[in-house]
């Protein structure tokens, strides 16, 4: 780690100006079709996930935990 301290500070300065998420340039005059695959990304959302199902592992463990009211494991 101590071998190249200079390089490290140079990199640190350069790192100052970064946006990890800079959008890539599209080609000028590039037209694209709204292909079906493209629509895919807009359709993969759920708003009805908040159901009343308590049969998953987590819920079963929760139930067991709550039922454990008289048993004190010491």
């Amino acid at each position: 780690m101590a071998t190249e301290p200079k390089a490290a500070t140079e990199e640190a300065k350069i790192d100052l100006f970064e946006d990890d998420d800079e959008f890539e340039e599209f080609e000028i005059n590039q037209e694209w079709e709204d292909k079906e695959e493209g629509k895919e990304a807009t359709q993969q959302w759920e708003d009805d996930w908040d159901d009343d199902d308590v049969n998953d592992d987590f819920s079963l463990q929760l139930r067991r935990e709550l039922e454990n009211n008289t048993m004190e494991k010491k």
Binding site: I14, F17, E22, F26, D34, Q44, D47, S59
Partner: protein, 413 residues
């Protein structure tokens, strides 16, 4: 650098000069733009740069003929920029390019139709990219990097030139997006405000007239700004627009949109399917989403800790942290459902100690007072309907819709 004879150098330079003056005479924007792309490393510009470095006195050539000398103020510094770029002198390359571009803009103003817009786009792009490289060079020499900031000022001027009633105005959004990239890179995002105001309120601009690629880029950046400002409905609208209209083949860009859209959707109670996360490699969100589905507060905390650096860098950490309330809601709802299955008549009353127990199981050591506080917050923010019977330490839930869904709206603030 390839060896070039004087004669060959002369030929290449003259060839370029002819192409330049022809492009302007015939209003051929598509040819002109190719002559300006300094950082593109195109074979023809590379070979021109080699020629310039050999010939050394191209300005004399330019001044020889009217058809070149009329563009002297553009061409002389442009040549200098190309030469310097080829030699790796990036600060000088940028400075010359800026000088050339200033002269270009003066000519551009006088050209009536929008024929040279494509060339202007190249200028705008090159100004930014050359400035970035110049700043890197400055930083590596231990000097203050200020060229990118200067590029920003230049582009504001260009914006001003385009902000008129004529056909050139459709170029304003591209310039705006270059400015966004600069401001985001410099961390001076507050400077976005004035261009945004111009685009969105000036009567000369009709958003629909702009090219789709610029609209997508614009909505991506303004969507990110809405995320920073925690305006989730606006962020949802803008980032969703960007997602809908983005080139389906630009996977990197789609990924970036989703990176910001997912936390926004989570904040309004909408979950992405796992396949989406996998397709675009956004698996850092998987455990957050799983935690929301389950009501698993421990998993949420783990997920935030595991990817803390990533989330902090992109600025979504606080957005995700606030999901905790929704996870509490889900947990309490599960307790309610479990109780209801055992004894439906008493289900709507949840003893605080039961919640404390569940939380302890999830490694969240809270005392009764803290839990009471959280319950009050859930009720206050309409995530839970009911009241808290303080003396008996019981949450009494409303018999109707005790856990209202968000319905696409963020949690009440």
């Amino acid at each position: 650098m390839a060896y070039v004879s004087m004669g060959e150098a002369h030929r290449r330079i003259t060839d370029y000069l002819n192409r330049f003056s022809d492009a302007v005479s015939y209003q051929d924007g598509s040819s002109l733009k190719r002559l300006l792309a300094v950082s593109s490393d195109s074979p023809s510009l590379l070979s021109l740069s080699d020629a310039l470095n050999v010939f050394q006195d191209a300005s004399r050539l330019i001044k020889q003929f009217d058809k070149y000398s009329q563009f002297g103020e553009i061409l002389v510094p442009l040549f200098r920029s190309l030469q310097n770029y080829r030699l790796g002198h990036l600060v000088e390359s940028y400075q010359s390019f800026e000088k050339s571009s200033n002269a270009f803009i003066q000519e551009f103003r006088n050209w009536e139709s929008a024929w040279a817009l494509d060339a202007l786009y190249v200028i705008a792009y090159e100004i930014r990219v050359l400035a970035e490289r110049a700043d890197r060079e400055l930083a590596s020499m231990g000097k203050i990097p200020e060229k990118l900031k200067g590029a920003g000022s230049f582009l504001m001027k260009v914006f001003g030139v385009l902000a008129g009633k004529g056909p050139k105005r459709v170029g304003a959004l591209y310039v705006t997006c270059q400015l966004f990239k600069i401001y985001f890179k410099l961390g001076t995002v507050h400077l976005c405000r004035s261009v945004i105001r111009s685009i969105e309120t000036a009567r000369i601009f009709d958003f629909e007239e702009f090219p789709v690629r610029d609209k997508v880029t614009y909505m991506y950046y303004t969507g990110r700004l809405e995320v920073f400002n925690e305006n989730f409905p606006a962020a949802d609208h803008k980032l969703s627009y960007a997602l809908t209209y983005c080139n389906p083949r630009s996977e990197a860009n789609i990924r970036m949109i989703l990176k910001y859209l997912i936390p926004v959707k989570l904040s309004i109670g909408i979950l992405p399917e796992i396949s989406l996360l996998e397709k675009y490699n956004l698996v850092e969100y998987s455990n957050v989403i799983q935690a929301m589905r389950r009501g698993d507060l421990r998993l949420l905390r783990q997920a935030l800790q595991e990817h803390e650096d990533q989330f902090l860098r992109s600025g979504v950490y606080l957005v995700l942290e606030k999901l905790e309330l929704q996870v509490y809601q889900r947990l309490i709802k599960k307790i309610y459902i479990i109780q209801k299955q055992k004894d439906p008549s008493k289900a709507h009353q949840i003893k605080l100690e039961v919640i404390v127990k569940a939380l302890k199981w999830l490694e969240m050591d809270m005392d009764v007072d803290e839990v009471e506080c959280i319950m009050s917050i859930l009720i206050y923010k309409n995530l839970m309907k009911g009241y808290f019977a303080h003396k008996s330490k019981v949450v009494v839930l409303s018999k109707q819709d005790p856990f209202p869904k968000l319905n696409g709206k963020p949690v009440n603030s």
